[in-house]
Each structure stands twice: as C-alpha cells, then as structure tokens.
C-alpha cells in the first residue's frame, strides 16, 4: 500500500517535472557541488598560482627568462621533437590501425592489447627500458652505434621516447573510425574504376583525416609535456638534449620559482593552443568529439 502510494506520488512528481521541464532525477546539487568544489580546490586554485607568480614578475625579467638561449634551445628540441614524433606516430599508427582492422593474422588480439602498453607502463620504467635498448650496449643501440648513429644520450633518443609515449593515441583514434568505415564506399569507388591506391587517397584517407589529425595533436601534446621517459634517455645536456619540462625541473630544484613559472606559462599556452585547434577542427568536421581521454575508451564505446 505504502509502496504503491510512493510510486504514484513519484509518478505524479515526474509528470509535473515534465510539464515544468524540471529534471526529476535526484542528486543534482550534491553531485555538481562536489564536482565543482573538487575542481576548484584541485585545479583552479593551484593553476591560478601560475598567473599570480608571473604577474609578480617584471615584464623585462619575464622576457629575459623566456628568451634565454638555453630556453630557446629547449623549445626547439621539444617542439620539433614532438612534431616529428607525432608525424612518425601518424604514419605507423595509421598502418597499425589498418592492419588491426582489415587483416587477420596470428596473435592479432595480443598485438591489439599491447598497443596500449605505453599508457600502462610508468614513464620512468619506459625511460630506463628504452635507454637499455637504444644505449651504446643495447640490442639496437650497439649496431647503430657501430654505424655511427648515436640514439641514447642524443637528440634521436628524445625522439624515440616521444614516439613511444604517443603511439597509442593515433592508433586508438583512427581504429574506431576505420572500423566504422563501410566497405560499400570502397566497393563503389572500385566499381567506378578507381584503383586501390586512388581509393585509399581519395576515399579512405579523407574519411580518416579528422581522426588522424586528432591523434596527431594528442600525440604531439603528450610528447611536448613528457618528462619521465625522456630524462633517462636524453642525457640532459643544456643547449643540446634538454627539453623544456627538464629545464623547468632544473629551475625548480634551484628554487628559481619565477623562472620555472615563466617557462611553464609558455608551455601551457602552447598546449592549450593545440587543444583549442583540435577542438575547433572537431567542431567543424562534426566528428565525434575525441577529447584527450576519450581516446582511451572510444573503441569500446563505439563497438557497444
């Protein structure tokens, strides 16, 4: 009796809610309140320290820190390295996605699972492992060293680490789109006389372009901020193999908080610009929003 009454009352309430366009689900204030308080305390207040710290700086000092030759060398390495790594990841990521979606071969499931390894392996472990592989005595570093190519403790090493950490992003953004690409389109292209190469460049690639671009940007942003794996393999020589996050770290260790903050601001502006461009491109193409972490789950979601 009591149950029935409550049910009727709730039903009535829901009808009222629908008529007045109010949401009948419980917990709005509690959940949003908790969410906003958490974000405020953990994100907004700490991030604002960067603004305050820089605001306390003289403009001239700021410019001096930001344009110091050592800093400029670090920007060059970080940005060029991240660009190159993202490009390599796009090429191999597209190939891996293609192979995983279109072909069948031995241990395919296992390879598919292994792709996420750079997400799961701590960066410090990745760093020492990559250094061991590409170092002077490593299985790949030794033959390359004999050929005169130094990887670890050189700029190439930075690139290797950046490729490692960014690889899954491209595969995981391109894979679901490729899975969703209907074979009909390709058949139509083939029927109309297009060769395989032409079909790929005129039909498939344009369709994959937004996802590929997103993967590129995510991989770029990750490579730009990466610290853990790179410090082990790069050798950390100022002006030569020093990346921006490491320079920030060095300044922090010398208690030069102002200098560290100024460099951090430059990096933040760079990564936010990248994210902004990604978002606007996605918005333009009306491509399913693949924001940073969505990549991690986008596959299971689209399959489901």
């Amino acid at each position: 009796m009591n149950m029935e009454r409550t049910a009727q009352m709730t039903a009535a309430k829901i009808t009222v809610c629908q008529r007045t366009h109010r949401n009948p689900l419980p917990g709005f204030k509690l959940s949003l309140g908790y969410c906003l308080a958490y974000l405020g305390l953990l994100v907004l207040i700490p991030l604002s320290t960067i603004v305050f710290e820089t605001a306390a700086m003289e403009w001239r000092d700021f410019i001096a820190v930001v344009t110091a030759p050592r800093a400029v060398a670090a920007y060059g390495l970080s940005f060029l390295g991240a660009l190159l790594a993202a490009t390599i990841n796009c090429i191999f990521g597209l190939m891996l996605a293609w192979v995983l979606v279109r072909y069948n071969f031995f241990a395919k499931k296992l390879i598919d699972a292994i792709i996420d390894l750079p997400f799961a392996v701590p960066t410090a472990v990745a760093g020492i492992a990559l250094t061991a592989v590409w170092g002077p005595n490593g299985p790949l570093g030794e033959p390359l060293g004999r050929a005169g190519i130094l990887v670890a403790y050189a700029r190439l090493g930075v690139l290797v680490a950046m490729v490692f950490v960014g690889l899954p992003f491209v595969v995981r953004t391109v894979q679901p789109v490729l899975e969703g690409l209907s074979v009909d389109v390709e058949e139509a292209a083939a029927t109309l006389g297009a060769g395989r190469v032409r079909t790929f460049f005129k039909v498939i690639l344009p369709h994959l372009a937004p996802a590929l671009f997103t993967g590129f940007a995510l991989s770029f942003a990750r490579a730009l901020g990466e610290y853990g794996s790179i410090v082990f393999i790069s050798g950390n020589m100022p002006h030569r193999t020093e990346i921006v996050p490491l320079l920030i770290m060095t300044k922090l260790e010398q208690f030069d908080y102002r200098g560290a903050t100024a460099l951090a601001l430059v990096m933040l502006l760079a990564s936010f610009t990248v994210l902004f461009i990604v978002n606007s491109v996605q918005w333009k193409t009306k491509h399913r929003s693949v924001s940073f972490a969505n990549v991690l789950r986008v596959r299971s979601f689209l399959k489901g």
Partner: protein, 300 residues
C-alpha cells in the same frame, strides 16, 4: 534483420571481393612491417627489463625487492593510491552524473577543466603545488608554522597524485552514461524506487565495467606517476620516494639490475592493467549487445 546484415558485411569483408581487398604482397608487407615496429618499440624494451633484472641471478633480484628502501617506496606508493583513487572514483561519478543527467551553464568549461591534467606537463602539475604549498607561499608558510609540511613530504605526494589521476574515472564514465541515457533511471523512479535503490540497482550495474576500467587506469597512473611526484617529493630515500622515484634513484646509482628488478613490479602492474582492460572492454561489449538484443525482442 540486423545480424543478417552484419553477417553479409562480414562475408564481403572476408571473401575479399575484388577492389576492396589489398594484394597479398601488400597485406603481408604491412603486417610484417607492423610486427617489426611493435617488436622494436614496445616488446623489446620489456624483454630488456626482465633480462637486466635477472642478469645477476634470482637471489639478487629478490634482494633488490626486499631492500628496506624498496619496501618503503611500495608503502608510500600504496598510501598515495589508497587516498587518491577512492577520492577520484567519487569525483568521477559525481562529475559524470551531473554532466550527463542535468543541464547547467558552463558545462563545456567544466569538461575542459577535467581535461587539464592531460593537457599539462607532469612537471607543471607538480610545480603548481610547489607554488601553492611551498615554504614561500602564503598557504605553505602558514601550514609550516602550524607544523604541517606538504611539499617534500607525504601530503604533497598524495595531492599531486590525486591531481594527475582525477580525470580517468570521470572520462571513462561520461561517455558510458551519456550513451545509456536516463530512461532506466526514470523508470525506476516511476516504479517507486528511492534514489538510493535507483543508484544501487540501476545506475551502478549499468556502469560497472566502465567504472572498473576507469578505476584501473586511475590506479595504474597513480602508481606510475613520475614527473609530478618527482617535483613535490624531495627524493628523501626511505621516506618520500614512490616506486618510480625509487627506480630512478637506484638507476642513477648505477645499480642497474636492482633498478630493473624494481621496474619489473611496475611492468607486472601494467600487464594486469591491460588484462583487466581487455576483460572490461569485452564485458561492456557483450552487455551492450545483450541490451540491444533485448530491446529488439521487446520491440517485436
């Protein structure tokens, strides 16, 4: 109808009708190149980790793991995980619930805030807490006067870990709850369920695999975080070193096999993460297709 269509599509795909399949040489060329790439970039580093860890024999491997500093690093790491992960699970659910079930202004802004730790370099993530709680700051100075040390101490490690890992659960749950919609929850309420009953019997069972996966990712990152924790920890051996920091310390002392021995623990964790991820993905997929089948049957 739909399964039949799926089957036709699959038949077309496997029966390699002319024009949509790649020639054999290309097929095997691409597969071979991919496997070589995967081997060089992903598999070989792992092989080397285990090879180096056991280079000096099993007793030395065990010694490296039993070392008091290693044990203390494990404890510090676990402490950070035990505090950060539950906080982030609650946050993740609260964020997903408010974002997917209600409309409010500045929703996009809130969503972008959730992405901040992914967009920011780990070093910067650590730095903002040094600025906030460091000895020179207002809050940090006040806390120090009252005997609470945040930076170069355990609280700093916990806070930095929480910051770096908070988006994972939210980011996992938001799409899952978005795609499910609120129909089942509304139905439960209409049928007289209390909010608590709705949560326990409708909402949670529907999101359990997404929640599990998000939690696992969050935990893996909490255990493995290096950059942010490195900034705030102060590297006090046996006190404020987490496992990844301990790996670095040992490695920089040229105890390579010991460093790799500790690293095997973290690699094992990575494998467990990937394993649970595969299971969760599979279960989520079968749950979704089950739901779809049931809806289809109900419609007929």
């Amino acid at each position: 109808m739909k399964p039949a269509m799926d089957m036709t599509a699959r038949a077309i795909r496997t029966n390699s009708s002319k024009g949509v399949s790649d020639p054999l040489w290309l097929r095997w060329g691409l597969i071979f190149t991919s496997l070589c790439f995967i081997f060089m970039v992903l598999i070989l580093p792992l092989v080397v980790v285990f090879q180096t860890a056991f280079r000096d024999g099993v007793p030395n491997y065990l010694n490296a793991l039993m070392d008091p500093d290693t044990v203390s690093a494990i404890k510090v790491t676990l402490l950070a995980v035990v505090i950060a992960v539950p906080l982030n699970i609650v946050f993740g659910f609260a964020a997903a619930w408010s974002i997917t079930r209600f409309d409010f202004p500045f929703k996009r802004f809130v969503l972008s805030l959730i992405d901040v730790p992914f967009a920011v370099s780990p070093v910067i993530s650590g730095m903002i807490f040094v600025l906030l709680f460091g000895a020179n700051s207002v809050i940090g100075g006040w806390l120090l006067e009252n005997g609470i040390k945040v930076i170069f101490a355990l609280p700093g490690i916990v806070i930095a870990t929480t910051f770096v890992t908070f988006p994972f659960v939210a980011r996992e749950l938001i799409p899952v709850m978005q795609s499910q919609g609120a129909d089942m929850e509304l139905a439960a309420l209409t049928l007289g369920a209390s909010p608590w009953q709705m949560l326990r019997m409708v909402t949670l069972p529907n999101i359990k695999w997404g929640l599990l996966y998000g939690t696992i990712l969050c935990t893996a990152r909490a255990v493995g975080e290096f950059g942010a924790v490195s900034v705030v920890s102060g590297h006090i051996r046996g006190e404020t070193n987490t496992l990844p920091l301990h790996v670095e310390v040992v490695y920089n002392e040229y105890h390579f096999s010991a460093a790799f021995a500790v690293a095997t623990l973290l690699v094992a964790m990575a494998f467990i993460t990937l394993g649970i991820k595969s299971v969760a993905e599979f279960m989520e997929k079968s749950r979704a297709s089950e739901n779809r089948k049931r809806t289809l049957e109900a419609a007929q």
